[in-house]
Amino acid sequence: MKATVHVTLKNGVLDPQGKAIEHTLSGLGFKGIGDVRQGKFIELDIAEKDKTKAREQVDAMCRQLLANTVIENYTIEIIE
């Protein structure tokens, strides 16, 4: 199975990268851009065939490694 994980900063947590991107985009002449936020996107293959179990497994990975739950949220999608 394939899983994808989106890791994003929690609301209200400063996103220096997003801020810098926003700034550079307007420097490049793009108008009307607001609130740029940068997150991570992780794709992985897992051997587990059962969708529910797969999700549980990926959830554990997120909590243990992929996301920093102090400042980040994550969402999981299981594909196939």
Partner: protein, 742 residues
């Protein structure tokens, strides 16, 4: 407006008595914004309420001290119109909760303290203490903290040149992250925080304000419990990119005459910065919070006043300088906003902080009572019971001397910290003359032949066993480390990390350590110019080992004269300066080889520190370095003579043949004893050095010669330097290579 209930008061960390004082000062019930301001101003972190009484006893003066404790950082005169500005600060609790960001923002905060005063930071150091290696969280914490320190310092382009890192069970639930910054300024262009000039504009610069770390300052002042993981959203995220711009913009503005006063927004952000400026200047401030640059929508006055968003500064400008200053900050792509004006004090001489938000007056607080009448406690304390001195003979010998040496050099606490400092850019700015790995780092004063030496040290197990002696020892060790590079030690900063001060035995540790530090500072002419106190380092009632970290700074007049710790070549004579008594109580040998933890009374007293002897031996060694007669120098500390020799050998990749001069002492007590005031030097001219030592009344013993690939003692004990080095270099990378979860 919501009523202030006892629950709300308690949530703000104010005691009943403190709240009574609030009512008395206000003459009415405060609103929530006002209460929040009281709570952060009176938190342990900002008010030093438990420690003030004792900190006042530290010596803070010397002819070369330009500014002692009280400002953002301490300042010393280093000649030629130059000044060194430095301070150490803790970010312990935040780093435990989110190690990367906690450590990063700690580094960012201490750098701001230094550049607020007009200095360009030229070096960072960090003193780290983690739980035992086996603890499930340790690896994750080490990873995050080191990465966070590097992430921030590297981006700022300030070299991280030194520090310490120790593992001990007592820090399992309470790690210590102490960061120190040293900066350089011109002595005639230093900036202070006292606001002045009624009607002058109060200006906000740097990042926008968000809801970051609200109540961070009160968090740092309460004991940890299991549920404190719930307090997580109070963690701030650092933005070193913005801080680098803030640094450059501030230094640029400081080249003009526009600034009257400047203060960084650290713990308790806008509140403490504005109150400190106003109280030191004896003025009031009218502040319009609508003008505060905000990152988030609908922020309340309470949130803005308590936010700990990073990378912000508050300034008072001379009238009419706003546009010029704005142009500089805009060039550096930073926010700039006039948010207030200085006001006259009232008839009683009290300045007021009056806050407006959305057209309403939302707070009106008298400044001095908040800033100065904050509670000061004389907390009950008991002295730490004295321990017996262990006799050298009472501590068992190892099965093999060299085996023990290898174990110590390759153990959690004796191994190389290369894994850490290779993740720090320690060379940027092009003046790092001695890189990490020696006794003290040496950083040249740009464009001159002068240099500053800097180090941080403390041996917490000594402080636990005897706070007074341990306090002395921490100061003496920094003094020795600086001396070993040829520097003249000038002043220290201290970072007092202790447990819960409401427990008399912890308070006793604090009082003892302060006494010991003060003794040493006086005896060595080595005053305290800045510092920081971190209390309540305690989890579920178990405190950390008392850890008064000392950061020392010294001056080298001619950097070409400095020496390192690596043996200075082959065929050099090795001389030990200072007498060896084989003191094994509280020694690293006792911990690592005998397996004690140092807590029990039977683990003995720490080595006594004779400050007059420290001075005599150190002055002798420094004189020899400056006159160019010796080729290497290393102080003897943790692990004694043999560990010091091993470090000198490993650094140079050169062995040595050492005579067995242990005499009456058991060899292991001679080799691993931690008597103080000692150094090991190498020279090609031993007769002269010994003669001068004798004339000066300094104990000096010729013990051997450098050469070959082996470190050999007497006829029987030998180990290859490569084998030692392999053990020394591999512990930390091996330990850290295991995958870790968070």
């Amino acid at each position: 407006m919501s009523k202030i209930t006892p629950e709300i008061v308690a949530e703000h960390g104010l005691s009943k008595e403190e709240y009574q004082l609030v009512l008395q000062i206000m003459g009415r019930e405060p609103n929530i914004t006002e209460l929040g301001i009281f709570s952060v101003m009176w938190s342990e972190h900002c008010s030093y309420k438990s420690s003030k009484k004792w900190l006042k006893t530290l010596p803070t003066e010397a002819p070369w001290v330009i500014c002692g404790p009280g400002e953002n950082a301490g300042i010393i005169d280093i000649g030629d119109g130059d000044a060194a500005i430095f301070k150490m600060e803790s970010h312990n609790h935040p780093s435990y909760i989110e190690p990367y960001q906690g450590a990063a923002t700690g580094v960012g905060g201490i750098m701001r303290d230094v550049f607020t005063m007009g200095a360009r930071p030229i070096a960072n150091l960090n003193a780290l203490r983690f739980g035992r290696p086996e603890h499930p969280k340790t690896r994750h914490l080490v990873h995050g903290v080191v990465e966070g320190i590097g992430g921030y310092g590297n981006c700022m382009g300030v070299p991280t040149v030194g520090g310490e890192c120790e593992f001990n069970k007592s820090y399992d639930g309470n790690i210590l992250v102490n960061a120190m910054t040293v900066g350089l300024a011109k002595a005639n262009n230093i900036f202070y925080c006292a606001a002045a000039g009624i009607g002058n504009p109060v200006v906000y610069v740097g990042s926008k304000t968000g809801r970051d770390g609200i109540h961070g300052a009160t968090m740092a002042s309460t004991e940890f419990t299991e549920d404190s993981e719930e307090k997580r959203p109070t963690v701030q995220v650092g933005d070193p990119f913005t801080e680098k711009l803030l640094l450059e913009a501030c230094l640029e503005l400081m080249q003009t005459d526009a600034i009257v006063a400047i203060q960084d927004m650290g713990a308790a952000g806008l509140t403490s910065s504005s109150f400190e400026m106003a109280s030191s200047g004896g003025v009031g401030i009218d502040m319009n919070l609508d003008n505060v640059p905000q990152r988030e929508q609908n922020m309340t006055a309470y949130e803005m006043m308590l936010s700990e968003s990073q990378e912000r500064m508050l300034m008072v400008l001379k009238p009419g300088k706003e546009d010029m200053a704005r142009a500089i900050f805009e060039k550096w792509e930073l926010d700039f906003a006039v948010i207030g004006t200085l006001t006259e004090p009232d008839a009683d001489g009290n300045g007021h902080m009056v806050l407006y938000h959305k057209g309403e007056k939302v707070a009106d607080l008298p400044i001095n009572p908040l800033a100065h009448a904050s509670p000061e406690y004389d907390r009950p304390w008991v002295p730490t019971p004295k321990r017996e001195t262990l006799s050298p003979e009472s501590v068992a010998a190892p099965t093999s001397i060299m085996g023990a040496l290898k174990t110590m050099c390759g153990g959690a606490n004796g191994s190389s910290r290369r894994w850490i400092w290779e993740q720090y850019d320690h060379m940027v700015m092009g003046d790092t003359v001695q890189r990490p790995g020696g006794d003290a780092a040496v950083v040249r004063v740009h464009g001159t032949q002068k240099a500053l030496a800097m180090t941080s040290d403390v041996t917490p197990r000594y402080v636990f066993a005897d706070p007074v002696m341990g306090g002395r020892q921490a100061v003496a060790e920094t003094w020795r480390n600086l001396t070993a590079t040829g520097a003249r030690p000038l002043a220290i900063t201290d970072n007092m990390n202790f447990g819960n001060p409401q427990r008399p035995e912890i308070m006793g540790q604090f009082v003892g350590a302060v006494e010991g530090i003060a003794d040493a500072c006086r005896a060595l002419d080595y005053p305290v110019v800045s510092g920081n106190v971190s209390l309540y380092n305690e989890t579920n009632g178990t405190g950390i080992l008392p850890t008064p970290t000392i950061g020392g700074v010294g001056l080298i007049d001619d950097v070409s004269k400095t020496v390192g710790i690596g043996f200075g070549g082959v065929g050099q004579a090795i001389i030990i300066i200072g007498e060896t008594h084989g003191h094994l109580g509280q020694s690293q040998y006792l911990m690592e080889i005998i397996g004690r933890d140092g807590l029990a009374m039977e683990d003995g007293a720490p080595p006594p520190v004779d400050l007059a002897l420290e001075r005599k031996n150190g002055d002798f060694v420094r004189g020899e370095i400056i006159s160019g007669t010796i080729s290497a120098c290393h102080d003897v500390s943790d692990g004694g003579i043999l560990v010091a020799l091993a470090e000198m050998a490993m650094t140079a990749n050169i062995g040595a043949k050492i005579e067995d001069v242990s005499g009456q002492l058991p060899l292991h007590a001679w080799g691993f004893g931690e008597d103080q005031a000692r150094y090991i030097i190498t020279t090609s001219n031993p007769e002269d050095v010994l003669e001068r030592a004798e004339k000066s009344g300094v104990w000096a013993t010729l013990v051997g010669t450098t050469g070959s690939g082996e470190l050999t003692i007497g006829d029987e004990h030998s180990i290859s330097v490569a084998e030692l080095k392999n053990a020394h270099e591999s512990w930390m990378p091996d330990f850290m290579s295991h995958p870790e979860a968070h």
